[in-house]
Each structure stands twice: as structure tokens, then as C-alpha cells.
Symmetry: C3
Subunit: 153 residues, 3 copies
């Protein structure tokens, strides 16, 4: 047996909440959203359940990543640039040289995530933070939809 399973907790899913989170990015790079997402969970009156995040764009993405050493974020941006270089002779160029690489990066990292919630707290690991990655060079206004489903606190 590869894993050890804990006791199972049970609740009735009686509450579902939703809100929009608008983030102004400063161009390519990471924006941490952990505090805003925790605030949504608190203001929802959430107890136990699950939180869903959805990003309404195709040239930015959502990831859970390390929140300790800022060098990690720099390296992650570099890694994505290597996987989708600006000078790769893309067919889609009408929105600028950084647009098609941005779509590739968004495809590889995704726009849909969930995080468990327990007693009103996000179930993030000790080194995990919630980040939006802006893949375009210029600043953009990005819109997320946050949802909670579960019990009341």
C-alpha cells in the first residue's frame, strides 16, 4: 500500500459563494493572491469545503508555487521563456511577439485550480502560495472568479 489514509470527516454542503477578483499586473511575472483569496474565504463565512479559482484570460495563468525564495519565481519565468521563446517563428504575430509565447505558457500552466478549505482556513502546504503569472510584457487587468462550496463556519 503506497499511502496512509486518515479518518474521514463529513459535512453537508449547504453554502456556495462567488466573487470576482481583479488584479492589475505590472507585466511579465508573478503576483501573489494568497491574502486576497484567504479574505474571500473569510468573508464567505466558509467552514469546511473547497475553493475554486478560475482565470478569464488566455495569456496569463494560475499556479500554486513556493512562497519563500523570490529566486524561484525568477527561475520559473525563465523556464517558461525557454519552453516558449519569443523568436520561435510563430504564425500568430498580430498581437505582438510576446503574445503567442504567452498563449503557450498559459496552456502549460493552466487557468483552473482548487484548494481545500478546513475550518475556514486554506489547506495550502507550508511553502505554498497562490500566484497569477502574467505572460505578456505590458501591464494587464486580469479577472478571476473565486468560488467556495461547503459548510458554514
Amino acid at each position: 500500500m503506497a499511502g496512509r489514509l486518515s479518518a474521514i470527516t463529513r459535512i453537508a454542503p449547504e453554502l456556495m459563494t462567488a466573487a470576482t477578483l481583479v488584479v492589475e499586473t505590472k507585466g511579465q511575472g508573478f503576483s501573489e493572491l494568497t491574502r486576497e483569496v484567504a479574505r474571500f474565504v473569510a468573508e464567505s463565512g466558509a467552514g469546511d469545503g473547497a475553493l475554486f479559482l478560475y482565470l478569464r484570460h488566455t495569456s496569463a495563468s494560475l499556479v500554486i508555487q513556493e512562497n519563500a525564495d523570490p529566486d524561484v519565481q525568477t527561475d520559473l519565468v525563465t523556464a517558461l521563456e525557454r519552453l516558449a521563446p519569443v523568436d520561435a517563428d510563430w504564425a500568430h504575430k498580430v498581437e505582438g511577439p510576446d503574445d503567442m509565447p504567452a498563449h503557450v505558457k498559459a496552456m502549460l500552466t493552466g487557468v483552473s485550480l482548487h484548494i481545500p478549505v478546513s475550518a475556514g482556513a486554506l489547506g495550502l502546504g507550508a511553502w505554498q502560495g497562490i500566484y497569477l503569472i502574467e505572460h505578456r510584457s505590458a501591464p494587464h487587468r486580469r479577472e478571476l472568479i473565486l468560488q467556495f462550496i461547503g459548510s458554514r463556519l
Copy 2:
């Protein structure tokens, strides 16, 4: 503060629906599913909540991507071919030279997604569409499971 949070809406999650969507692909490339998914949401009688999509295969995947310029889809397929080339000397060859690259591409892009639903409408951004990417060269029959959870319209 990195973001602005809107007012929070609340509903009771009273309805959960499910259906299977079968897609016949024409070989490597994108198939748009947005219309079929919207039809599932409408026929579910869905109000506010979340839609879940799951693909029951390991050599195709599900992504949210740009729905405007078809060149974007061509470039995304090319980008995946560069990341998982057919001639990379794979150990797993028994199902043909395009099979192992297909598994790598499916791992990088995923088979599980959610999209918010508001007043019976998918919460997609203006330029977002829902796509199945077929990673095998030959046409395949692909099966998805769609689920909605939330309120009635």
C-alpha cells in the same frame, strides 16, 4: 493589496447533474467543445455554480484557449511538438511513434478543468473557448464527463 475583491454572492448548492460527451477527433489538433458544454449547462437547468470537465484518456487533453485567430491553435500544436518530439528516442514505442509524445503532451496540458457558471451562462472570458486537443495522428473517439453543481435557474 494586489487585487480588488467584488461583493460576494451566496446560493444553496441543491443540484448536481452529469452527462457524457463523445467527441470524434480527426487526428492531431483542436476540437472546440464550447457549444456542447453550454448546451449541457442549459439542459441541466443550471443557475449559479461550477462546471467540471474530465477527459477519460491519456493521449488527448482539455484546455481553455483563444477562440479568435486559428493560427493560435496551429502554433500551440507546434509548441507541443517541440516539447515532446516524435524522434526523442522513447522507450515506449509499442503503440507507434506518436503515442509516447501524446502521453507527454497530455501530462503537460491535463485532463481535468472547471469553469464557473453564473445565471446559467459559462463564465468564460471574452477570448476563451473550451478545447479538446487530440495528440494522436489518427482519428479517435474520446469520452468526457461533464458535471454541474450549484443552484437551479
Copy 3:
């Protein structure tokens, strides 16, 4: 029309369960979790609904992949090593040369997944298994949160 939609089934979401699954990895590579996850679903008394898996780490990840030929897993690990090589001159080196590549691999493959559940059974495709990928060289203790939402069996 790209796809054929089946009849829609309806339930009331009356049950939400949660448990922690602890997995001891043996260093870089795949650990299959399908049996443990199926056990969680069974012990939850789950009927129809959705299962959510969340991994509380940033240098390991969760994927749905082929469960037949073990060569596939070897090739997937090789593919990730090519995309995030140890010798790529990373800025973040304080936790060892395998740490930053592990964060890149976790970003590309993700830590959040859902799988549909029908009549108490996981809706996996015939060739799909649930895997944790350890991206660090050394063995690690990894913690997942499993959740089910739906009807009772």
C-alpha cells in the same frame, strides 16, 4: 456539432467528505494512488459526484496517466528532465541542484485534480491511473487532501 451529449442525470449534493493521504516516496518517479483513492471513495459512502485531489507541496505533482506499460512512466520522467534540466544555471540553488527543476516540473504538471464518481466508482478511463510524481532525488513524505462531494450510495 463536434460531439454527442448523453442523457443528463440529476442528484442532490448532500454529502461532502475529506481525508488526508500520506505517501512516502522513494525519490524521483511515479507512485500510483488509484487504490488508496478508490478506498477513500468507498469509505466515504460516496454515490454520484466528484472527487478532488490536492497536493500540499511545490516539488511533486499529481497526474492522471497510463497504467499499462511502465515504460511510459520512465519516458514521462525523462521528458520532464529535458524540459527542466538540472544544469540549466538556475538562480535558486540553496536547496540543492534538483530543487529548482522540481519546482518547474510541479508548475507544468500541477497539484490540483478532480475525477468524476458514479455509483461509488471512480470515472477513470480504461487506461488511466492516478499518480503522484516525486520530482526530488531523495525520498519525501508527501501529503494530499482528498474530498468527495455528491450523493450517498
